[in-house]
């Protein structure tokens, strides 16, 4: 990832953060913007998780990875601590590969 891409993302992010303190006397966020942004966040995160769990390049990633991600999903739904979720996902995938699952 080139430095210029990181700086671009940082600049855009900072602009979002500074918009409120700079503009709050002049601009109001349109009603419903909060809800739409929250929904967009959910859609993007779920889709990122789904595409990266299931695909590798332009094809299927094999069963081991989505299985590990599913384990992570179950733990996350049970509000497991973050490191536990990450390690469980890696461990489940690694063990399945060790057992010969693709």
């Amino acid at each position: 990832m080139p430095l210029v891409a990181i700086i671009a993302l940082a600049g855009i992010t900072y602009a979002f953060r500074l918009a409120g303190p700079l503009l709050r006397d002049r601009v109001r966020l349109p009603k419903g913007a909060d809800g739409l942004i929250a929904a967009a966040t959910a859609v993007l995160l779920v889709s990122l998780a789904a595409t990266q769990a299931l695909t590798q390049g332009h094809g299927f990633a094999g069963w081991a990875r989505p299985a590990g991600v599913a384990v992570a999903g179950l733990l996350a739904a049970r509000k497991a601590p973050f490191p536990v979720i990450v390690i469980a996902a890696a461990a489940a995938t690694a063990l399945l590969r060790l057992a010969g699952v693709g």
Binding site: M1, L45, L48, L54, T55, H58, A94
Partner: protein, 228 residues
């Protein structure tokens, strides 16, 4: 979480300074994971920036929420903006007194900024020791983190449907589109939302008309209330 970000990024093949610089400048966990994972999956930097930036649009409403806390002078505004995150805003909103809200926001934000960046460096050091990422199942950790971040954001049925549809679209288009783009097409899942929003607007309008005309047309607005 910072440590996992540093470790996974480096183990995935990125140079050590990418997660470190990104954490210092961007300082938004979800967007960092998203952008990095798009790049590691072979997507273009433009797609990575787009995914990260779209996730960070949620920081704009946060900025409006905490504007009264940071708007003392220019320095506090500029510094406060950088530590405006899910966590610091949540801590500020828990307090009812403005002084305590201000203290909570700055304490949480500054500690989080320091801890996050220190953890990323430790993660980078650990990540350089890992050679075979597939054998360790490290490729499962990015989607696992993103899923763990996603679950608390899915609060109602409509978001669930939009997310499911978006994910299906993105996965279906992965074989045919360049890497990084399918995720952006998932936003088409949001098209399932405005219809409901428009529906609500019509109901609200009808309710207003009914009040003005003095007639008592049955208004089902309560049934749909509390969703926006």
């Amino acid at each position: 979480m910072g440590a996992s970000f540093g470790a996974i990024s480096v183990a995935g093949g990125l140079p050590w300074w990418v997660p470190v610089v990104m954490s210092l400048l961007v300082f938004a966990g979800g967007a960092q994971f998203a952008a990095t994972s798009v790049v590691l999956a072979g997507g273009s930097p433009v797609a990575a920036v787009a995914a990260g930036a779209l996730l960070n649009t949620r920081l704009a409403p946060y900025g409006f929420t905490v504007a009264s806390i940071t708007s003392r002078n220019w320095r506090t505004r500029l510094a406060g903006a950088q530590i405006t995150t899910d966590e610091s805003v949540a801590f500020a909103l828990r307090e009812t007194d403005e002084g305590q809200a201000r203290r909570a926001f700055w304490t949480c934000g500054v500690i989080l900024y320091a801890a996050w960046n220190v953890c990323v460096v430790f993660g980078v050091l650990a990540g350089t020791a890992i050679r075979d990422t597939a054998a360790f199942g490290l490729d499962a950790t990015f989607p696992a983190v993103l899923l763990a971040l996603a679950l608390p954001t899915i609060r109602d049925q409509r978001t669930r449907i939009a997310s499911g549809a978006g994910a299906a679209i993105a996965v279906a288009l992965t074989p045919v589109l360049p890497a990084g783009l399918p995720v952006l097409t998932s936003l088409a899942g949001l098209a399932l939302l405005p219809r409901t929003a428009a529906h609500q607007a019509v109901l609200r309008l009808r309710g207003a008309c009914a009040r003005r005309c003095g007639s008592q047309i049955a208004s089902p607005k309560r049934r749909h209330g509390g969703e926006d």
